[in-house]
């Protein structure tokens, strides 16, 4: 195998596929990147069995061939190379691959491509969705998904496609995000799937660096392929019953408060610094004032007040500061609406319309 590419292209391509490289596998070849140089182009692939990524590498193939290089070292080498042309060459019968750039020369152990797993190749009719709106929805919803693998369903995002809208839902059982976004899509009828949140965040990272305006999606029974700008991301889907989120969102709330988005976000961030060791962040609504306070034993306390429109009974409710902050941050509007029923019922964070809802469980306050 012999191919000529540029440092920049190599770094970018490895950066894309690297996120699918298996970090903890007893099979060595899975911590590598497959480089497949064919007469019609070069493709790099990596997989950790959950996500597989295939990305084209710009360059010239002098002699077709394929091999697997260790992902971590290859990336470190690529980044350290001088700018300009890079040659990768493996001579027939050798296991080493030679990486040349300018005056630098690396000889790297490689593994045979035949040891690399066969990447899944979902086939079938795909459909397209608008990229910008899709990614925005991902970025606002996916962070609410759980990282606890003991409940696989909650590590995923429930996505519902129809011709005019995409709806995404994620919850880790402490908070719940729902976003409905108008997106032109060529999907037939409707489609629903639970996609690992990690996949979607990876897709967002990859796709935001690509010029294409649309993402092509090919669903199969247990895999989903996303294609954008020549890059293929194939993900396992999650089996199981997603919680019925509609049941979780109360139909009516007793209190609603409108607050300035940036002001409340920053107050929560600042005061939240002193809500350590699981201490709650307290919100107290009374007499046209919102008081945000927190106290951690052996650390200290913080307090901040801001004027609001509120004339009801005094209400004090506690939250996990990170969860509240994430919810407010996900509302991308000048005014945030906070809705409550009581200190022990979930609170709702939203913008002016109902297209994005963020439900968050309170923490019981001890006094």
């Amino acid at each position: 195998m012999k191919l000529v590419t540029s440092k920049q292209a190599l770094v970018e391509c490895l950066g894309i596929v690297n996120k699918a490289v298996s970090s903890r596998s007893s099979i060595q070849v899975l911590s590598g990147v497959l480089i497949d140089a064919r007469p019609d182009g070069i493709v790099m692939s990596a997989t950790d069995m959950e996500i597989s990524i295939k990305a084209p590498l710009a360059g010239r193939v002098d002699q077709p061939g394929s091999l697997v290089v260790p992902a971590r070292i290859a990336s470190e080498i690529a980044r350290s190379l001088p700018t300009g042309e890079v040659t990768l060459e493996q001579r027939a019968g050798e296991t080493q691959v030679e990486i040349r750039a300018g005056e630098s020369l690396f000889d790297l152990h490689s593994l045979p491509a035949v040891d690399f797993p066969q990447l899944p190749a979902p086939v079938g009719d795909g459909f397209t969705v608008g990229k910008a709106a899709f990614l925005e929805t991902v970025d606002r919803v996916a962070p609410s998904a759980s990282r606890d693998e003991t409940r696989p369903v909650l590590t995923g995002v429930l996505i519902h496609f129809n011709k005019t809208d995409v709806r995404m839902v994620a919850t880790d059982s402490y908070r719940l995000s729902v976003k409905q976004t108008p997106i032109e899509s060529s999907v037939e009828n409707t489609l629903q799937a639970i996609v690992p949140a990690r996949t979607l965040l990876e897709l967002s990272r990859i796709a935001s660096g690509v010029a294409d305006d649309t993402i092509t999606i090919v669903p199969t029974e247990n895999q989903m392929l996303f294609q954008v700008g020549g890059i293929y991301l194939i993900s396992r889907l999650i089996d199981g019953q997603f919680p019925n989120y509609r049941q979780l969102i109360p139909e009516t709330f007793d209190y609603e408060v409108a607050v300035d988005h940036d002001e409340v976000l920053e107050a929560v961030r600042r005061v939240g610094l002193l809500a350590q060791k699981n201490a709650p962040l307290r919100l107290r609504f009374a007499d046209n004032t919102l008081a945000v306070s927190a106290e951690s034993q052996d650390v200290g306390k913080a307090h901040e007040a801001m004027p609001i429109q509120y004339s009801g009974d005094a209400l004090e409710i506690g939250f996990n500061p990170e969860f509240l902050e994430a919810g407010i941050a996900a509302v991308k509007e000048p005014t945030v609406y906070l809705r409550f029923i009581s200190p022990l019922r979930p609170g709702l964070v939203k913008g002016a319309s109902d297209d994005f809802l963020y439900l968050v469980m309170p923490i019981r306050l001890s006094d």
């Binding site: 060595q28 260790p70 070292i73 899944p120 247990n222 089996d239």
Partner: protein, 373 residues
């Protein structure tokens, strides 16, 4: 399917059963049980290849090859961490088993030393073992089936591997390793059905020397004084442990290669831990094998003496030592020699459970001396 089990020697029953299973539809759980060194693990990998292979077990395609080499992502090999297969490992398997195989036709979990489930792990495993998703198969491999919880064993189809017949071993040695016929026959007799021990006897000077040391000890034991018996015990135990260092360099080299490919510091630590476990596991295996060799050689020697004393020289195992046997044999000692063999068998029985090896062997020495006094 022909090619799949060609490396498995002298296990016609087991291979027949597995071949039929591949043709007619495999059960979801198997227990591969039999003495050490007869090809259970190789058979497990070959069977897994048959389950995973798109052709039903051609033995030659990329899938079959990678499974047999332990490189296939859908075939997971589970081995004890430290001394046990632990609950954390099983919890992970319970979670991941539900996912479809990545590329193969089936997903196979092979448990080595399957008798080392601790009780929490065993209980966590029961439900998945009984009703795994349709694409999952479990293969439990053990040479100590009596240690398995009955609740686990009863959920598996039993595949019994037997000691390999001497003729099959001899044929294997001359066919595969080019050992001359006479020597192959001698080794096959001496190895007592343990194919991998036979192969080691044929290829390793250390292993041959180990046998010689043990035979000398067995020969001299009846005449040894109290002090000499202690020395003999030291020598015997040293021979049992002599090979434990052998495995270290190879596994260390393997770790070094793996570390070069590893991503972050956490992965490296994990790999180091795994490598340590692997060393421990191999050493445990060698130690068990060493003790088995010890009892096997001792039993063989006194059995041979019994035969010689009864005038049945043709049947002795240690033919290369026939003249020595004839020199030391006591006429009319048949009864005493069979008592000595029984003493060895008793020790063998004890060693199957976790008794202190040195105590068991020391007791065996005393009983042999009493029998032959």
């Amino acid at each position: 399917m022909r090619g799949l089990f060609t490396d498995i020697t002298g296990q016609e029953m087991a291979v027949g059963l597995l071949t039929r299973a591949l043709e007619q539809g495999a059960s979801h759980a198997y227990l591969f049980s039999g003495p050490p060194g007869v090809g259970k693990t190789e058979a497990a990998l070959a069977f897994a290849a048959g389950l995973a292979c798109p052709e039903g077990g051609c033995g030659v395609c990329a899938t079959c090859r990678r499974v047999k080499e332990g490189l296939h992502p859908d075939i997971e090999i589970v081995a004890p961490e430290g001394n046990f297969i632990r609950k954390e490992e099983i919890t992970e398997i319970n979670l991941h088993a539900v996912y479809r195989p990545y590329e193969a036709k089936a997903k196979v979990y092979i448990f080595l030393e399957a008798d080392s489930f601790n009780i929490e792990a065993a209980n966590a495993f029961l439900k998945t073992l009984e009703e795994p998703p349709g694409h999952v198969h479990f293969i439990l491999v053990t040479d100590r089936p009596e240690r398995l919880l009955p609740t686990i064993a009863s959920r598996c189809q039993l595949v019994t591997f037997s000691p390999v017949a001497a003729r099959a071993i001899a044929a294997d040695l001359s066919g595969r390793l080019g050992v001359k016929e006479r020597e192959a026959e001698l080794i096959a007799r001496v190895a007592g059905g343990n194919l991998s021990y036979a192969r080691e006897l044929a290829t390793s000077d250390t292993v041959r020397r180990q046998r010689d040391v043990l035979l000398d000890l067995a020969r001299d034991l009846p005449r040894a004084g109290l002090l000499d018996t202690e020395v003999a015990l030291d020598d015997a135990m040293a021979s049992v442990e002599s090979r434990e260092a052998e495995v270290v360099p190879e596994i260390k080299a393997e770790l070094k290669r793996a570390l070069e490919w590893a991503g972050d510091a956490r992965t490296k630590k994990w790999l180091e831990k795994r490598s340590e476990d692997k060393i421990k596991r191999q050493q445990r295996r060698l130690r068990t094998q060493g003790l088995q060799t010890l009892t096997h050689v001792f039993a063989g020697w006194y059995r041979d003496l019994a035969l010689v004393s009864a005038g049945a020289e043709d049947a002795v195992l240690n033919r290369d030592r026939l003249s020595e046997l004839q020199t030391v044999v006591r006429p009319g000692g048949l009864r005493a020699y069979t008592d000595a063999v029984e003493a060895v068998q008793k020790a063998e029985e004890r060693l199957r459970y976790n008794v202190d090896a040195r105590l068991a062997v020391g007791d065996m020495f005393r009983s042999i001396k009493e029998a032959l006094a």
